[in-house]
Structure formats: structure tokens, C-alpha cells
């Protein structure tokens, strides 16, 4: 593994006082520079809490977290400021001279194929366009760690496929470490080097994905990994709840 860029030791997070059951329970995690990691888990498993901690939105109260300084987030909803044109949203908070910042923002928008909408108001964008603007806003910061919080969940199926390959291309071009939070097993297998499964605040699986890129659903081995992950998540192949069936 490349030099670690993120290291968590015994990370624990409780929401209701010191005696409450932890949402994250003594979590250990190391992510290498440039590594693409997907984090799976059912709702309530602590995925979002972990991501918020890594983003710096929630404080580290128990345990340690070594995080890179340059981090960027793409949220599930685009969270663009509606009163700023798209390129100003991308440029938000960037230091430097105005013209240089604008050029960087426009370059990032070209990378996500949204340059033609640079001057548009965010509320006039489609869901996919808005999410690409969010991606540009994260990329323009040249992060060492890119946090993706279910960024494709609200998109229609076709847009989602295009966004997934766009993210794969951008990752290969820029090589940030990525933590993709998702509940879509196939998406995790299409994109990640490593798939983690979070359950009850602990990592219950850490699965290396050795499939060749670009990934294909039809590739040998894909299905086997998918079934393994689904089993860990407690769902059988047909989508039935394995725990309940047992």
C-alpha cells in the first residue's frame, strides 16, 4: 500500500452522552495515498457519521484521527449556493487573485464537461449537472482525500452510470485518495480498490477488489465479490433479507 494518507485509531463517536451506545465503535482504518475505497453499510450503520468526521464537520472526541489537510466533499445533494453562478460556486473559498481563481474554476468545469454552464444559476441545472458542478467544486481544491457522500444516489440510472465513469476517469487523472460512501454494492465494485462494510459502528469487512480496470459487471469474479458483499450486508442474491429468512 502507498504511504497512508488517513489513519484512524479507536475512533469512537457517541451522540447522547458518554454512556450512550456508540455510533462508531473503536474504528481502525488506514487509507493509502491515491487509494479508492468504498464504504458500504445499511442505513444507520454509521457511514454518514464517519464521513462527517473525516470531513471535519464532526469533532473527534474519542480515539485519534490523522487526516490530510486538503480534503473535499461531494454531498448527496449538490449544496450549491443558489445565488452564485456555477463557476463562482466552484471557486468558493479558493485563495488567490480573482482572475486566476476564475480560470481554475473554469478549468475544473471543463473537466466535468460543464464549461458551457459556467455562468448559469444553480437552480437551472439538472440533477446530473448540479452534481458535476459539486464534483468540480471538490476537484478544483486538488484534495489528497476526496469524500463522496452517496453522490449518485439521487440521480436517475443513466445519469448515474455516466457520473460513475466520470468519477473513475477523474480519479485516474488526479489520483486523490477517495472514500466513496454508498449503499450500492455494484457501484462500489465498479469503482473501488477496496470495499469496506460498516455495521454497528465497526468495520466488519475489508475486501480488496483485484478486478482489472475499466471495470465491467460481466468480468469474471465480479459476481462472486458482489455476492460476498451482499452476504455481509445481510441480503441474499435475490434481495431477500437473509437475517429474516434464516
Amino acid at each position: 500500500m502507498a504511504a497512508p494518507i488517513l489513519r484512524l485509531r479507536d475512533l469512537t463517536r457517541r451522540f447522547h452522552g458518554p454512556d450512550a451506545p456508540p455510533v462508531l465503535d473503536r474504528l481502525d482504518l488506514t487509507i493509502g495515498a491515491g487509494e479508492f475505497v468504498a464504504l458500504l453499510g445499511r442505513s444507520g450503520s454509521g457511514k454518514t457519521t464517519l464521513l462527517r468526521t473525516l470531513a471535519g464537520l464532526d469533532p473527534v472526541t474519542e480515539g485519534e484521527a490523522l487526516l490530510p489537510a486538503r480534503r473535499a466533499v461531494v454531498f448527496q445533494e449538490p449544496r450549491l449556493l443558489p445565488w452564485k453562478p456555477v463557476w463562482r460556486n466552484v471557486a468558493l473559498g479558493l485563495p488567490g487573485a480573482a482572475e486566476a481563481v476564475r480560470q481554475r474554476a473554469l478549468a475544473a468545469l471543463r473537466e466535468v464537461e460543464l464549461a458551457h454552464r459556467a455562468g448559469a444559476w444553480p437552480l437551472t441545472l439538472s440533477g446530473g449537472e448540479a452534481q458535476r458542478a459539486g464534483l468540480a467544486r471538490a476537484l478544483v481544491r486538488e484534495p489528497d482525500l476526496l469524500l463522496l457522500d452517496e453522490p449518485f444516489a439521487a440521480l436517475d440510472a443513466l445519469t448515474r452510470l455516466r457520473m460513475q465513469s466520470l468519477v473513475a476517469e477523474l480519479w485516474q487523472a488526479h489520483r486523490p485518495a477517495v472514500l466513496l460512501v454508498t449503499h450500492d454494492v455494484e457501484e462500489a465494485l465498479l469503482l473501488a480498490d477496496r470495499v469496506l462494510v460498516l455495521a454497528g459502528g465497526r468495520l466488519v469487512q475489508d475486501l480488496a477488489v483485484d478486478l482489472p480496470r475499466p471495470r465491467r459487471r460481466a468480468a469474471p469474479g465480479f459476481d462472486a465479490l458482489r455476492i460476498r458483499l451482499l452476504a455481509t450486508l445481510g441480503v441474499d442474491e435475490d434481495g431477500h433479507d437473509a437475517a429474516r429468512a434464516a
Partner: protein, 277 residues
């Protein structure tokens, strides 16, 4: 696409999607049918002697009176006096309302210190303060301006405070993630988010300002539209009284239009305005 051509297209593009102009004009014209009919009836009634023209001057007399007042320069003089009162009063209200709104909106301490007091004061009908204001400030300009300022401050304060407090926390979070400090968050996220509500407040404030003006100008005024009206009452000149009312109405409408223009420019990003041209 080159950076150059992008730069050129950055100023917002507006896609005018106007319906057929002819049909629109007809549609607008139709709305004036009833008012015009009423005015014609009013005139006809006066000429037929259905009511005393001493108690209600006919439209023709009102127009004639307005024309005379314009020619003699009296109307302009009184209008300027009234406008000055509103302008100064509103300026004070804006200063006070915006400062109070910012302090209470942006800090819990400010809210605790100010909000309860201001809410209590707001519950008081401010026009009931006239006797006190007269005792404190006399019957001159100060009372009239104070009345305008008092009435207009509360809507500005309330809507700005409410607007600041209803900022989407998700946007604040995004701002924080992307490295905005507190000052930048306020500038780029909080204030723009509060602006739509604050502008509604401004429109309310203008409305109350005219109302306060009307009341204020009935207190021993020696100039202003209100004086013109009160003076005309002494001589039973209902035509001049109605000219005064007309001017008040036009001023109110004009102020409203002004805020609409501001809104259209400042809130161009809103979905209802985007694409409207």
C-alpha cells in the same frame, strides 16, 4: 470551448419566454375596464346632480385642481417636503433595522439581548405613540420623521432576523467544508440567503412609512401633502383633498415598484425569476 468565449458568456444569460405581446396587452387592458367605468359613472353622477359636488368633487374637477397645483408649483413643493420626511425616516429605519437584525440574527447573545424587547415593542401599535412623541419631540419635523422611522424599523428588523435564522444549515456546512471562515460564511451564505425575506420586509416598511406619513402630517404640519389635504378640508375643497389622496396612492405604488425592480436585480437567481427576462 475556449476560456475567452466563456468569459464573454458569463454575464447571466436570460431567456425571454414572453407570451404573445398583443394578447398580453389586451389582457392587461381588460383589468382597467371596471375602474374606468367607475370613474365615468362618478363623473356622470356628479353632472346629473345625484350627489353634492361640494362633498365629492367629480373627476374633472380633481384633474383641474391637480393641474393648477402643478402649474403653481404648490404640489411639487409639498411633495418634496413629504418625500424628504419619508426618505429621512426610512434611512433611519434601514440603519436601525438592519443593525438590529444583524446583531440579533448573527449572535445568540444579540438575540437574547434584543429580540424579546423588540418583539414587545412591536406588539405596541406604534401610532399610539403619537402623544408621547409630541411631548418628547414637539410638533415639528422630528415627530413626523420619528413616526416614519419607528413604523418602518420593525418590518426590516423582523424579516432580516428571520431570514438570517432560516438559512439552510446544509449550505452553511458546505461553506465550512470549502474553507469559508465566519466572516466569509456571513458574506457568501448567510446574507444572500436572508436577502429575499429582507426585501419583503423592505416592501412592508415602505408601506408603513406612507401610513406613518399620513398620520404624521396631520399633526400641525405647515407643508407636505398631508398639510395640503388638511388645509383643503378647512375650505371644503374636496377636489384638492382627493388630489392629495391620489398622490399618496401613486407614491405608494411607486415605492412598491422600486422594491420590485430591486428584487428583480438582486434575486435574479430565484427560480420564479430565472428565465423570466
Amino acid at each position: 470551448m475556449s476560456g475567452q468565449s466563456l468569459g464573454a458568456s458569463l454575464p447571466l444569460r436570460r431567456a425571454p419566454s414572453r407570451p404573445d405581446l398583443g394578447a398580453l396587452r389586451l389582457d392587461r387592458a381588460r383589468r382597467f375596464v371596471v375602474p374606468v367605468l367607475l370613474i365615468l359613472l362618478w363623473q356622470a353622477g356628479a353632472e346629473a346632480g345625484l350627489f353634492s359636488i361640494r362633498l365629492l368633487a367629480p373627476p374633472s374637477a380633481i384633474l383641474a385642481a391637480a393641474w393648477q397645483l402643478i402649474l403653481s408649483g404648490e404640489l411639487l413643493h409639498h411633495l418634496l417636503v413629504s418625500l424628504r420626511r419619508v426618505a429621512i425616516g426610512l434611512a433611519i429605519a434601514l440603519g436601525a433595522g438592519v443593525s438590529l437584525g444583524l446583531v440579533a440574527g448573527l449572535s445568540r447573545l444579540g438575540e437574547d439581548a434584543l429580540d424579546a424587547t423588540l418583539q414587545m415593542l412591536r406588539a405596541l401599535p406604534f401610532l399610539a405613540l403619537v402623544p408621547l412623541l409630541i411631548l418628547w419631540l414637539g410638533i415639528g419635523e422630528a415627530t413626523k420623521i420619528a413616526l416614519v422611522a419607528l413604523g418602518a424599523t420593525f418590518p426590516i428588523y423582523l424579516t432580516l432576523f428571520g431570514g438570517i435564522r432560516s438559512v439552510d444549515p446544509k449550505l452553511l456546512e458546505a461553506g465550512r467544508v470549502f474553507g469559508l471562515d465566519r466572516a466569509a460564511l456571513i458574506r457568501h451564505v448567510v446574507l444572500p440567503a436572508a436577502l429575499p425575506q429582507a426585501l419583503v420586509g423592505l416592501r412592508y416598511a415602505l408601506g408603513t412609512a406612507w401610513l406613518s406619513l399620513v398620520v404624521g402630517e396631520q399633526i400641525n404640519a405647515t407643508a407636505g401633502i398631508g398639510y395640503l389635504v388638511m388645509d383643503a378640508r378647512e375650505f371644503l375643497r374636496t377636489d384638492i383633498i382627493l388630489v392629495g389622496l391620489l398622490v399618496y396612492a401613486l407614491l405608494g405604488l411607486g415605492a412598491d415598484q422600486l422594491v420590485r425592480v430591486i428584487e428583480r436585480r438582486a434575486l435574479a437567481w430565484r427560480p420564479s425569476l430565472v428565465g423570466e427576462g
